[in-house]
């Protein structure tokens, strides 16, 4: 339990340091175009790497998760909002769980 709290605080501290250094101490622009490009893509690549393949094991059943993934992909391509995509995927998994 103590280690858990320690890990959480370490995580919070690192996250805070990243946010506070430019805001309070540097206050300059990053000039390197390459680093700026890289940072532009990082949020997308992080989310993608966190989602695949972990989404397939997020429901305790590979096949219901697969159904949910397809529903999430299709509804995202159809430009549904965040919450709608999430609800549709959950419903698909739930229904899939009953049928399978």
């Amino acid at each position: 339990m103590l280690k858990m709290v320690g890990l959480v605080l370490a995580m919070a501290l690192v996250t805070y340091i990243i946010r506070v250094i430019p805001m309070a101490f540097i206050r300059k622009k990053i000039k390197s175009p390459y680093i700026n490009n890289l940072l532009y893509y990082v949020p997308y690549t992080v989310l993608s790497a966190m989602t695949f393949p972990y989404i397939f094991y997020s429901t305790g059943n590979f096949y219901t998760a697969l159904i949910g993934t397809v529903v999430a992909l299709v509804s995202s391509i159809c430009k549904r909002s965040l919450i709608v995509v999430a609800i549709l995927a959950c419903v698909a998994v739930f229904v899939g769980g009953i049928i399978l």
């Binding site: 250094i21 430019p22 805001m23 622009k29 990053i30 391509i77 999430a86 998994v93």
Partner: protein, 241 residues
């Protein structure tokens, strides 16, 4: 810019923050459910959300916390996943008026998230500290409450429902990365490459032994690095991101 005090007040910020707060609630709820599935106590989940305020970083950290991973791993993971805040904080620091004294810079930094940043930099003039605090208020509350409700629900609801909710957070991540992928070839390739590398780490014999936190870091940096080289971003696109 001459007097450097903007006319946007605390209440203007609260108003702008309301949609963000409403949007954060379900994401945090999904995070709370995920935490309960991994067996993380409710109070720890709440502590994570109230001290971190970041979705992707928290989910990566959550796995490490739940499995009692190493400090090195959690620090490295957060450094990479949250590196974008460095850029946002840099841009935001150019956008603040004279009411942001050093003390307030230390405090406001806590609340820099993708959405709060996006609203703050979209304002035509420099912003005041009061506006920024107002802007951060409801997102912060929505994030904390959502986590609390999700973690509690995860412990109370029947297992079939909890398992179905387990996909929610990932579905939201898909909803974030797909729309820009359909418009921007660079983002599309970056997302595909990153997912591909991440899968290699998950399934290939030797790579499999790399822990998930490091696997995500390597996949994300490698793919962003390669795509940044082949698909440079126009400056305007970066500012609108």
């Amino acid at each position: 810019m001459s007097n450097c005090f903007s006319n946007l007040k605390f209440k203007n910020g609260v108003k702008d923050g309301l949609p963000i707060g409403l949007g954060y609630f379900p994401v945090a709820f999904a995070f709370g459910v995920q935490a309960s599935i991994l067996g993380v106590p409710i109070l720890i989940s709440l502590l994570i959300s109230m001290t971190n305020l970041t979705s992707a970083g928290q989910l990566a950290g959550l796995t490490i916390v739940a499995t009692m991973g190493s400090f090195i791993e959690i620090i490295a993971t957060q450094l990479v996943i949250n590196s974008r805040y460095f850029l946002m904080s840099t841009m935001l620091s150019q956008k603040t008026d004279d009411s942001f004294t050093f003390k307030h810079r230390l405090l406001t930094s806590t609340f820099i998230t993708d959405e709060i940043f996006a609203i703050a930099v979209s304002k035509p003039n420099n912003i005041s500290k009061n506006y920024f605090y107002g802007l951060a208020l409801l997102p912060y509350i929505g994030w904390a409450l959502g986590t609390l409700f999700g973690a509690t629900a995860g412990n109370l609801l029947p297992q079939s429902v909890v398992y179905a909710l387990g996909i929610a957070l990932y579905a939201m991540f898909i909803a974030i990365i797909i729309p820009p992928s359909t418009k921007n070839l660079g983002v599309l390739f970056a997302v595909l490459l990153s997912a591909g590398i991440s899968c290699l780490f998950y399934y290939l014999p030797i790579l499999k032994s790399v822990s998930s936190g490091f696997a995500i870091i390597i996949s994300a940096i490698l793919s962003a690095g390669v795509i940044a080289y082949f698909f440079p971003v126009k400056k305007e696109e970066r500012d609108n991101a």
